[in-house]
Symmetry: C2
Subunit: 648 residues, 2 copies
């Protein structure tokens, strides 16, 4: 029944042998895997300015220094991950790398961090994109939650259609955003070079500090601002995770893409931060603290203030706004590429339900995509599509996985060193190891900073969620292991049951019952009994009379049921057969009414279902459903099955 | 798993042969079946005063006349229903009577009216009771919905325990209410006889009319007030419906109980109405229309104003309030006795799902009780526990069923007349018929009045709900009829299938698979194939190698699946077997993992379940589940099954 709309949304199924076709050339891989890190430059600068603003205008002089620190960190992390692309051509996410080098538990820590972060990427990016839209069109503001959910659905559908098509769909906004920001930087450079002054609308506004400063307090605020600026690094992981999706040579293409992304992101972030300083952008977390903001006016985002100052309104400014909104929404797409692949790896290793490891009709991991969308949707609803609150949960997971991944790479190179003798190769390996060691050290430091400065601002939620996920994944694996061990073939082999006792529960004599009896007789069991439960004595007597009258060649037994229950006496009956001959098997034949509409299920089969469930818990019992297909069940049938062939 | 709490709430199951024990003596039958009509005197007078008040104080002179009209109606209806008790000793609800005399469709109209009304009885009575409580303890007012739902749950549990116990539980409040009202009337009579004046607190308050009066408008308002006063008649039906629950002689005891109830209700209603006139109770639907009501004070109910005037505060007044609240809540119990019995009759006749016809552990119709509670709970939530809005939906159903029931009785006596020759008996039958004819005529008139005067005030909801229910019941019956006709044994009998083809889907070789193969071999099918779907070529090759290595004596076939789907290729395979030999039957053996915890269901059996569902739609296929019970399934097992006996 769900066939036609599914086809319409998702497209026709793709054959497995077309998997190779969905590999990505670099120019498509960039928008698919890099929209997240590229889009973060839209808000990273603003985060620094906002937090510094808590200490008043006096602290804004720190902006360039903090910006520089973020750039340095970005360089180190990109360099680090390029090593990973080469070392792990089959996908070197933090999970694979730490599993390989640090063991299962460390890899599960990384995995839970990544899973949480992918979900947050979707939620934060979509909500931020919607916020950009609603600040352009204030009439849409009350519908932020619905708009966000609609975008999540849109992204889900696009991704369910398969990787290649989404690469194409997302190229325009990503390249558009990069282009418009570079135009912004170029125009600003030109105007500054010709001696013009660029002034943000907020340059003249004052700011009431809401934080004491001086000494350690200033240091703490600066560190918190730096931690917030680190949102520029979110999503760098995605490329190394996606190496298998690149065209050959996979590793080299991935490393090149990563470097390109790094170059673009650094230039854009540095340029925007510089312009924020030059144009004197002043912002406050609480607009009431801004002196000079006209009543009723919302403060614009840092990037749009810069855009206004440079372009002075006009089409270029609106283009900047539009592309910003577009890339923010599409950044979520990075997670749609990363999450399902990671979930399938985890499912393959038995840490998540097996359904997540299976590729869907369009060769993507459909279940993972749907799961990601569902959880992100819940977060959006729970946090009422509020960017400020959601963003506090972000980056902890990023830096946990960064740290584990880099630490794992250090170990990886140590092992390589043991195998390599050639001095030139050894030198190159040592250099790679040094790069990853620097990365590991720096990301560890930043992780501690983020934890300390953001814990009370909402990060504690992630600090609780990650260990829960970690324990869940450990327990799922333990469950599968136990199940497999129990189910392992036993050395003695399986002995055939000595005899088969067939039991057919009967309520009244009709075609389904008679057919069930015929099927039961067809397997030639060692004995066959029809059994009825005496609830209403008059009815039971009528049944016996009809049974004799019709000359049915199967003995009919009755069971007493003083408590009017039908299921328990039948279960007891089956149990007593098994008890008297434990080497035999009991086969219970249950007629089942096949329903064509969901509501028919309320009118039929209630007792059959309950009886079946109870019997499955009995050792040495098999339960055979003999379906009865009335005309009404045809509604839910394949057309070719619609004319029942009939058994006799 | 639900066993222990269920026992604790509901009690141990009762044997069917104890059904006789739950019969009620008259002194218990009165509270069980009459708390509804008795409790209505607590608000019927108030309804008259409230509606008349819409026209200003000038119309209150009509109160005694309208009160008299209600009393006359009550006498007629009680007299009418006493005839029914004698004519239908097996339960003469409007449904049975109109089915017998007016045909199926009329009876279903009556049934839908009754079902709607039982639900409303629960909702209105519970909410009114809670309103009585919250006006005594204003702090509870914000929790009215939760309190109402808690009371519904309490009533449900008490009723699930069985009729007799609820009779006892409800005797005290019912008799207590009757007693305190009679004390009220006696004290008032004494004080008036000794020349004292009784004045309600509202006697001096003025009233702004919010309705034009004069001519037809006055007549319309008077009729609406009368219609509202008819709430005093709700629930009279219950006794005639419950005749089978009375001790022998059932009919006579029921008729006596009905007469007793009528006498009590009429005396109480007439007395309270007289006192409302004497003490000058002034009330307004909208408190803002009362001149003199102190700011911030809510107007008290009419009965409590009379109580204050007569008892002058003190313990007797609070006792009156407490018993009023108690009987209002317990009035809902009438519906708990009526609804499940009616639903079981309807289910027995195939108009409602069959589950409703089955008696539960404690010999009551548990499913009906739970259904009633659920729908009433929904209504309470939807109407925000607001008595004024809920009460507008009331009485339409009551008078529909009154009318049909009395009209049915008129026909019933006509048929009797045809059979009877003895002049004395004929005279008695003619007298009965006259009583019922009067009843039918009067209730028809009142029904029209209620419809016209209350339609726009909310009654339209019921006018929509009843036909929907009517159509639903017709369609359920038609569905069962079609199903039975299709399932009727065919004249030719069932031919045994010629051959059995057994198919065992295999994913990997483990104990559940091997056991399933052993069970399949044990039935000695004409041919047996293990089938695997080639999704991952490497895995399939490994499976074949192990199959050969283990020397499994069943051929293993593989099916290609270019789209990675497992279920569809297997269904196609089964279909092709059937197509090449349509007189044979295919038996598919599916290993099923028995789970002990609900969450394990997410980790196992997903494919097995889907495959099974799809196969049941195939004609000539039976599906055998071979359960595999791992240790973790023991959590949900009966202790005696916990040590698997093992098959070989």
């Amino acid at each position: 029944m769900l066939h036609t709309p599914k086809r319409w949304f998702i497209g026709r199924p793709l054959r497995s042998d077309r998997l190779g076709e969905t590999l990505l050339p670099k120019r498509l891989a960039l928008p698919v895997f890099c929209s997240d890190p590229l889009s973060s430059v839209a808000y990273a600068t603003e985060q620094i300015v906002l937090v510094l603003g808590l200490g008043g205008l006096g602290l804004l002089y720190l902006t360039p220094w903090l910006g520089t620190a973020v750039v340095v960190l970005l360089v180190v992390v990109v360099a680090s991950y390029r090593q990973t692309c080469y070392a792990y051509p089959n996908g070197g996410g933090a999970y694979a790398v730490s599993r390989d080098n640090l063991g299962v538990r460390a890899s599960l820590v990384a995995a839970s961090a990544l899973l949480v972060d992918y979900v947050l990427t979707v939620a934060v990016s979509v909500v931020a994109g919607v916020a950009a839209i609603t600040s352009a069109i204030p009439a849409l503001a009350p519908h932020a939650v619905v708009l966000s959910l609609a975008l999540v659905v849109l992204l889900t559908v696009v991704n369910l259609r398969g990787v290649k098509e989404s690469g194409r769909a997302f190229a325009v906004p990503t390249y558009g955003f990069v282009a418009i920001v570079f135009i912004l930087l170029a125009v600003a450079g030109l105007r500054l070079a010709t001696g013009q002054t660029l002034t943000a609308e907020s340059a003249s506004w004052g700011l009431v500090p809401d934080h004491r400063t001086g000494g350690l307090l200033t240091v703490f605020l600066a560190l918190r601002a730096f931690a917030s600026g680190c949102t520029a690094l979110t999503g760098v992981e995605a490329v190394s995770n996606g190496v298998p999706s690149f065209e050959e040579p996979k590793s080299r293409n991935a490393a090149t893409t990563l470097a390109t992304m790094g170059g673009l992101a650094i230039t854009m972030f540095a340029g925007i931060t510089a312009l924020a300083v030059v144009t004197h952008v002043h912002m406050a977390e609480d607009p009431a603290h801004l002196i000079g903001l006209p009543a009723g006016q919302e403060q614009r985002t840092a990037l749009s203030q810069i855009g206004l100052a440079v372009f002075g309104g006009g089409p270029a400014f609106y283009l900047l706004q539009a592309f910003t909104a577009a890339i923010l929404v599409l950044a979520a797409n990075t997670a749609y590429n990363g999450f399902p692949v990671l979930a399938s790896l985890l499912a393959h290793d038995g840490h998540l339900p097996r359904q997540l490891a299976r590729r869907g009709d369009r060769l993507v991991f459909s279940n993972g995509i749907v799961l990601l969308a569902a959880v992100a949707g819940l977060l959006i609803v729970a946090f009422d599509a509020d960017v400020t609150r959601l963003i506090q949960l972000y980056i902890i997971g990023v830096f946990v996985s960064f740290t584990l991944s880099q630490a794992g790479m250090v170990r990886h190179w140590s092992r390589e060193l043991r195998a390599v003798r050639d001095p030139r190769t050894r030198r190159s390996v040592r250099r790679s190891q040094a790069i990853n060691a620097t990365g590991a050290a720096m990301t560890t430091l930043v992780l501690l900073l983020v934890l300390v400065t953001k814990f009370t601002h909402g990060a504690w939620i992630v600090v609780i969620a990650m260990p829960l996920l970690f324990v869940l994944m450990l327990r799922i694996r333990r469950h599968y292991d136990t199940a497999d061990a129990e189910a392992a073939p036993r050395p003695g082999g399986v002995t055939l049951p000595s005899r088969i006792h067939a039991v057919v529960p009967v309520v009244k004599i009709n075609e389904p019952t008679l057919r069930t009896l015929a099927f039961a007789r067809a397997i030639h069991p060692d004995d066959l009994t029809a059994v009825t439960v005496r609830v209403d004595p008059a009815e039971t007597d009528r049944l016996f009379a009809e049974w004799v009258g019709r000359d049915i060649p199967v003995p009919l037994a009755e069971i007493d049921s003083p408590f009017r229950d039908i299921v328990q006496p039948l279960v007891d009956h089956v149990r007593s057969i098994r008890r008297s001959s434990p080497r035999d098997v009991v086969c219970v034949f249950i007629p089942e009414y096949v329903v064509g509409h969901w509501w028919e299920a309320l009118l039929h089969n209630q007792t059959a279902l309950w009886l079946k469930t109870r019997l499955l818990f009995q050792p040495g019992v098999m339960v055979t459903s003999v379906p009865w297909q009335p005309a009404s069940s045809h509604a839910a049938m394949d057309p070719e099955d619609r004319t029942p062939v009939g058994v006799g």
